[in-house]
């Protein structure tokens, strides 16, 4: 009986995992496949990938599927009970101005935020773990690329990531057998690549968690679980149940054939098949509970269906509730022994929250007008991307900002929708009537978009703490966010804008208005890219970090943070793949210590 309740849970588990997203899903998978008994607690409701509305079209939805505060990424988006505001679960912002605002995106459902992401899965490179050593800013991680690389390999093989090996600086290759072949680029991708190359900007195949072909169910299980025949058998069976991409429908709607990664399509099915995983949904964890020995002995949570507080017990507690939610749980876990919150002797819990620097520009490309009918659904974008290409110039101090960004590109004859034909006056002179219909046909599919995704350097003014007065509907004190960008991020955003304008110009394209060269205006508000990490950063020194190199809190031996909270820097590479790699690595460590009876 894998889905249990507060009443039907077992008395004792080896490990409690709080959260069911990338970090929680990977932790449960790794622990259960090796025999540990795990209880997973998810704050939101149960969710199955079979709920996906993949092929449904806008005219069947309210408001033609438009984004609303109830469904911020559109009616059919897989995320339910989620967004930048969640009913009954407020948070406090110290500023409403764009420059100082932080928006906190949450998903209260099984699979958490893995139900909404771009599936972009880039490895951090060697520089990304040692940024302080490289330029004197931010913090080094206590681990390097070589420590994480074997886990990137494993995650890529398990999840199914497409991509290629290009051997570019700080853009690691994967060993043979890790990556699936990348999808064919669209016309717009190829035109962008051709013109960007003339500017010295490389466009290479992207990496995404989408099965471009069936997984190697004969080879991969033995590589991932050597000596563990049962795990191999379970994984092989589950890999056979995942279908390759259907080359249709946006991944954000979820995937009922399990061709893309959500925790519920990849991690949870095999973990449940082991019989070692119990899951309680609608379980909102309030605090980690402590034994008299000062070690964690479980968690206290609110059963959202009854509103009652419940307790669960385990030898080890893993928080993977998302960077800020895990920090909130620690800060709310106050006791005589830990008056500033648990694992917070450094005072660093909640500190150094980092999002990704985001800025975007779109342009209209006459060369792409009036193309013949083409099915360009593909694998839902990101066939090509631009990795950061100016490492040398940056290190030489020529750019005025210290860290890089990559470029995500978009275009193609995608499914028409509410935005089609809107805002064309700058091209049409305000046509209406038959001329307007011809204009829409002409311009449909001729737009390209560029989104910069850059590294933010951790700073002292971007953090969260417990608000002294506001509580959520369960009575749990909520977070208050402080946010500031530095010139490094603002200048980086301005550089993005200029670069995108240059590429559009090189394509013979048009801009509706000039690019925004004021970085403060070009940068998207904090939290809006939904890549927030930090808050429980790992380090080599207990005085200045919350966790050690094993995601283990310095203060509490059997308490681990397996989400993005442990990131000591936030490279331009999207964080999910690294969250999974670190969660696998930390879970291996937990297993070995459980076996040695150290935990």
């Amino acid at each position: 009986m894998p889905f249990v309740t507060a009443q039907t849970q077992q008395r004792q588990y080896d490990v409690i995992v709080v959260g069911s997203g990338a970090g929680g899903g990977q932790s449960a998978y790794t622990l259960c496949m090796d025999g540990a008994k795990v209880l997973m607690l998810e704050a939101g409701r149960n969710y199955s990938y079979t709920e996906s509305s993949m092929f449904r079209t806008p005219e069947l939805a309210p408001l033609r599927g438009a984004s609303t505060p109830d469904k911020p990424f559109g009616f059919y988006d897989a995320t339910v009970d989620g967004g930048w505001s969640v009913p009954g679960e407020p948070y406090v912002r110290t500023s409403e101005e764009d420059a100082g605002r932080f928006e906190w995106w949450r998903a209260r459902m099984l699979g958490g935020r893995t139900n909404h992401w771009g599936r972009i899965s880039l490895r951090n490179g060697p520089y990304d773990f040692k940024p302080y050593t490289r330029d004197g800013l931010g913090f080094d991680w206590p681990i390097g690329y070589d420590d994480v690389a074997p886990y990137y390999d494993k995650v890529e093989m398990l999840v199914g990531i497409y991509g290629s090996n290009e051997g570019l600086e700080n853009t690691p290759n994967s060993p043979p057998g890790c990556l699936l072949p990348p999808p064919k680029p669209l016309v717009s991708d190829l035109l962008i690549a051709q013109r960007a190359k003339r500017l010295g900007i490389p466009a290479i195949p992207g990496h995404r968690a989408v099965l471009t072909r069936a997984l190697d169910h004969q080879g991969v299980p033995a590589r991932l679980h050597p000596g563990n025949a049962r795990a191999q058998r379970i994984l092989a069976e589950d890999m056979r149940a995942r279908a390759p991409c259907l080359w249709a429908t946006p991944c954000g709607l979820g995937c009922s054939v399990r061709a893309n990664y959500q925790s519920t399509t990849v991690h949870l099915p095999p973990a449940l098949m082991t019989g070692n995983l119990d899951i309680i949904t609608d379980a909102m964890v309030r605090e980690v509970s402590l034994g008299r020995d000062g070690r964690a002995n479980g968690v206290n949570f609110i059963d959202r269906t009854s509103g009652r507080e419940q307790h669960a017990t385990a030898r080890v507690v893993v928080l993977a509730a998302s960077a800020c939610e895990s920090a909130r749980i620690l800060l709310n876990s106050k006791s005589a022994q830990f008056p500033q919150g648990l694992a917070n002797s450094s005072g660093k819990v909640g500190r150094y929250i980092m999002d990704t620097v985001g800025s975007s520009v779109s342009g209209q490309i006459p060369l792409l007008e009036n193309l013949p009918p083409l099915n360009e659904d593909g694998a839902d974008g990101h066939a090509l991307y631009v990795p950061w290409w100016l490492y040398g110039e940056q290190l030489a101090g020529k750019l005025g900002f210290a860290r890089g960004y990559h470029i995500e590109i978009g275009g193609g004859r995608r499914m028409p929708g509410l935005g089609t034909g809107a805002g064309l006056e700058w091209l049409t002179g305000g046509s209406y009537g038959k001329k307007f219909k011809e204009d829409v046909r002409r311009y449909y599919g001729s737009f390209v978009g560029f989104a910069g995704r850059g590294e933010m350097i951790p700073n002292d003014r971007s953090f969260c703490e417990i608000d002294p007065t506001v509580k959520d509907k369960w009575g749990i004190p909520v977070l208050r966010f402080h946010w500031q960008w530095s010139d490094h991020e603002r200048r980086q955003a301005a550089h993005m804008q200029t670069t995108f304008g240059d590429i559009i110009a090189a394509m013979g394209g048009k801009l509706r208005e000039p690019v925004e060269t004021d970085g403060a205006k070009a940068i998207a508000p904090g939290g809006s890219i939904i890549h927030e990490v930090g808050g429980t950063i790992m380090g080599a020194d207990p005085a200045s970090s919350v966790t050690n190199r094993w995601n283990q809190t310095w203060d509490v031996d059997n308490l681990f943070i397996n989400d993005g909270g442990v990131f000591a820097s936030n490279a331009d590479k999207n964080p999910t793949l690294t969250i999974m790699a670190l969660a696998w690595r930390a879970s291996d460590h937990i297993l070995s210590r459980l076996r040695r009876k150290e935990l």
């Binding site: 409701r45 709920e51 449904r56 079209t57 806008p58 005219e59 069947l60 939805a61 309210p62 408001l63 033609r64 599927g65 438009a66 609303t68 505060p69 109830d70 009616f75 339910v80 009970d81 989620g82 967004g83 009913p87 999808p183 064919k184 680029p185 669209l186 016309v187 190829l190 035109l191 051709q194 259907l246 080359w247 249709a248 429908t249 009918p373 083409l374 099915n375 360009e376 659904d377 593909g378 694998a379 004859r413 499914m415 028409p416 929708g417 509410l418 935005g419 089609t420 034909g421 809107a422 805002g423 002179g429 305000g430 046509s431 209406y432 009537g433 307007f436 219909k437 829409v440 046909r441």
Partner: protein, 205 residues
């Protein structure tokens, strides 16, 4: 989302309604102040009016249809906007309790009233009663906000927004997808990318 939140949104939206005057109080009243919630049934098909009551009167719907069809008339490839259900969509849109919709509610309701008033000023009739050429003359004065007379700036803003809603309502239907020769959203076993001949013609192969 609760009633209080919606009222806050209505007040914020009303600040963006310069065309609105006394007598347009309907714009402020939202019949159902809550939306479909954060966990709606995605597998159901929703018809306009099912989730929240619609707003437009029969006469306004006629006016809306006429304007939508001036923007997207039938041609040899596809039918007109109203034939594709655009009026139902616009009515659903301006009746919904969400911030963007509330802003458009004021713009559209006031804009429709303005059209009749302007028609009366120019020809002593409401918009529906005008000769086609006179209807087109009004649209010509509004269709490009950058060239519109200062006195017509707000009506031009209404026209631009109404054109966007008409286009969005039209192209998000099977009729609109066919018009644009969109051929995706079908499962396939392979994705072969663009044909070589096309890439060659664009200098990309």
């Amino acid at each position: 989302m609760d009633r209080r939140t919606t009222i806050k949104w209505v007040l914020a939206a009303s600040a963006t309604w310069p065309l609105l005057r006394a007598g347009h109080a309907r714009a402020y009243s939202i019949p159902t102040p809550v939306g479909y919630g954060s966990d709606p049934d995605l597998s159901r098909t929703y018809l306009p009016g099912e989730l929240w009551p619609l707003t437009l009167t029969a006469t306004e719907r006629q006016l809306a249809a006429t304007l939508s069809d001036l923007i997207i008339p039938a041609d040899e490839r596809s039918p007109s906007a109203s034939a594709a259900g655009v009026v139902d969509f616009i009515d659903e849109w301006i009746s919904a309790p969400y911030p963007d919709c509330l802003i458009d509610r004021g713009i559209v309701l006031a804009g429709l009233v303005w059209l009749d008033e302007e028609s009366a000023r120019r020809a002593g009739s409401n918009f529906l009663g005008l000769e086609r050429a006179m209807q087109t003359a009004i649209c010509d004065d509004l269709c490009d906000a950058t060239r519109a007379a200062t006195s017509l700036r707000e009506p031009a803003r209404f026209f631009a927004r109404y054109r966007d809603l008409t286009a969005g309502g039209f192209y998000s239907t099977p009729i609109g997808r066919t018009d644009l020769q969109y051929i995706g959203n079908v499962p396939r076993t392979t994705f072969d990318g663009p044909p070589l001949a096309l890439l060659e013609s664009l200098g990309l192969a």
